[in-house]
Amino acid sequence: MGLIATPPDATVVSSTSPNWVTTRLDFLANWARTSSLWPMPFGTACCAIEFMASAGSRFDLSRFGMERMSFSPRQADVLICAGRLPFKLAPVIRRIWDQMPQPKWAISMGACASSGGIFDNYSMVQGIDTIIPVDVYVPGCPPRPEGLMYGILLLMKKIRGETFTDDRLRVEKLVGPDGLYLPPERVDELSEPFGNSVSQTRSS
C-alpha cells in the first residue's frame, strides 16, 4: 500500500484523533476502488474501436486492473460510453446506469458522447450528461487509446480524492417524475448548438 502512495494528510494524524481511522479507511477503500475499476463497455461507434485497442495487448488496460470487462452492469464500476448515443438508445444506457450498483462512475469517451459532436440533428443525444451523470469527458474524434487512458487516470485521481463518509457522492440521481434527471432548462442549455452548428438554423 505504501508503495502506491502516501496518504496526503499522514503527517497530521495521531492515534487519538477520530480522523485517523476515517482517513486510513478512505485511503484503503479508494486504493481498492482505483485498482480494480471494472468497465461496463457501452460501445456504439468508432470510439469503441479505440476502446478495444486500449483493452488489447499493445495498450493493455489490465495495467490499471481494468482487464475484466463487465458485460453485466451489476458487476461494473465504470460505464464507458464510447460513441454517439442516439435517442433510441437513451433509455438503454439509462437502464444500464440504473442497474449498476454504487459506487459507480461514468466516462464519456469522444466528442459525440460528450456533446453530440458532428451529429447536431434530430436523432442524437447532445451529450450523454443529459441522460446520466458523467465524471470524466475524453475529447477526441475518436480519442487515441492514450487519451482514454489519461481520462481513466484522471478518474482514478478523482476517486482517490473521495471520502466514503460523504453520502452525497453516492446518491442515485434518478429520473424524476418529469421524465428527466436534470431540470428541462438545464438539458436545453447543455444541448445548445456551439461551434459550426450555430450557423445551422432550426427551421431547415
Partner: protein, 209 residues
C-alpha cells in the same frame, strides 16, 4: 450500374408497348433508364417486370423516396430493380402529390425483401404502402411523435426542444420493440417444450429461473 450510354434500356420500350399511357415518362440519366409510372398501375408494372421472362427483374435492390426542396415538385417513390441473370438495371418511379394521400401499393408480395425497405420509406417520408403486412416505423422508435425526418419541411434538429426530445426518448420502454412476433422463437413456438411456451405466454423473458 450499367455502362454509361445514352440509349434507353429495352425494357422501357417494352413497358410502353405493354402499358401505354401508364408509362408517363422515360429518361436516361448517367446511363440509367428511369421510368415514371402512374400510381394506379405501379403494382402491375412491377409484377410484369418481375414475371415476364424477357425482363426477369428478380432482385429488388432498393425502395426509397425523394423529397425535393422545391415545394411544387411531387414526392417520388423509387424502386431500383436488377435482373441478376441479364445483368440489367431499371429504375421505376412514381410521383405523389404532396397535398394528396401518400399511398402506393406494397410490392412485398413480389419481393419479400421489400418489407423493411418499405418500412424505412414509411418511417422517413410517411409514405403508406397499402397491403404491407407490418407498416410500422423501423429506424425511429414506434412512438416517435415528431413526424417524418427526411421530409424537406422537417427541421434538422426536430420540432421539439431538446429537453422534450430527451424526456420522450427516456419514456420509451426499450423492450417494447421486441414483440414475440418479431422474435425467431415465434416461428418455432409450436415446437417449443410446454414449460417454455407457458413462460413465453406469460410474457417472461430470459432463461430458466
Amino acid at each position: 450500374m450499367s455502362a454509361p450510354t445514352a440509349a434507353q434500356s429495352p425494357s422501357a420500350q417494352a413497358l410502353r408497348d405493354a402499358f401505354g399511357a401508364a408509362i408517363e415518362r422515360v429518361e436516361v440519366s448517367c446511363g440509367d433508364t428511369i421510368v415514371y409510372v402512374s400510381r394506379e398501375r405501379i403494382h402491375d408494372v412491377l409484377a410484369w417486370l418481375k414475371e415476364t421472362p424477357t425482363q426477369d427483374f428478380d432482385y429488388l435492390t432498393d425502395v426509397t423516396a425523394v423529397d425535393y426542396r422545391d415545394a411544387e415538385r411531387p414526392l417520388e417513390v423509387v424502386w431500383q430493380l436488377r435482373s441478376l441473370a441479364r445483368k440489367a438495371d431499371l429504375r421505376v418511379k412514381v410521383r405523389l402529390d404532396k397535398d394528396g394521400p401518400l399511398d402506393v401499393p406494397t410490392c412485398w408480395d413480389l419481393w419479400r425483401g421489400a418489407n423493411w425497405l418499405e418500412r424505412e420509406v414509411f418511417d422517413m417520408f410517411g409514405v403508406n404502402f397499402a397491403g404491407h403486412p407490418d407498416m410500422r416505423r423501423i429506424l425511429m422508435w414506434e412512438t416517435y411523435q415528431e413526424g417524418f425526418p427526411l421530409r424537406k419541411d422537417f427541421p434538422l434538429r426536430g420540432h421539439f426542444s431538446r429537453a422534450e426530445q430527451t424526456r420522450q426518448a427516456l419514456a420509451v420502454n426499450p423492450e417494447a420493440h421486441y414483440s414475440l412476433e418479431e422474435l425467431a422463437t415465434a416461428d418455432a413456438y409450436r415446437n417449443l417444450p410446454q414449460d417454455m411456451r407457458e413462460r413465453l405466454r406469460r410474457g417472461e423473458r430470459g432463461g430458466p429461473e
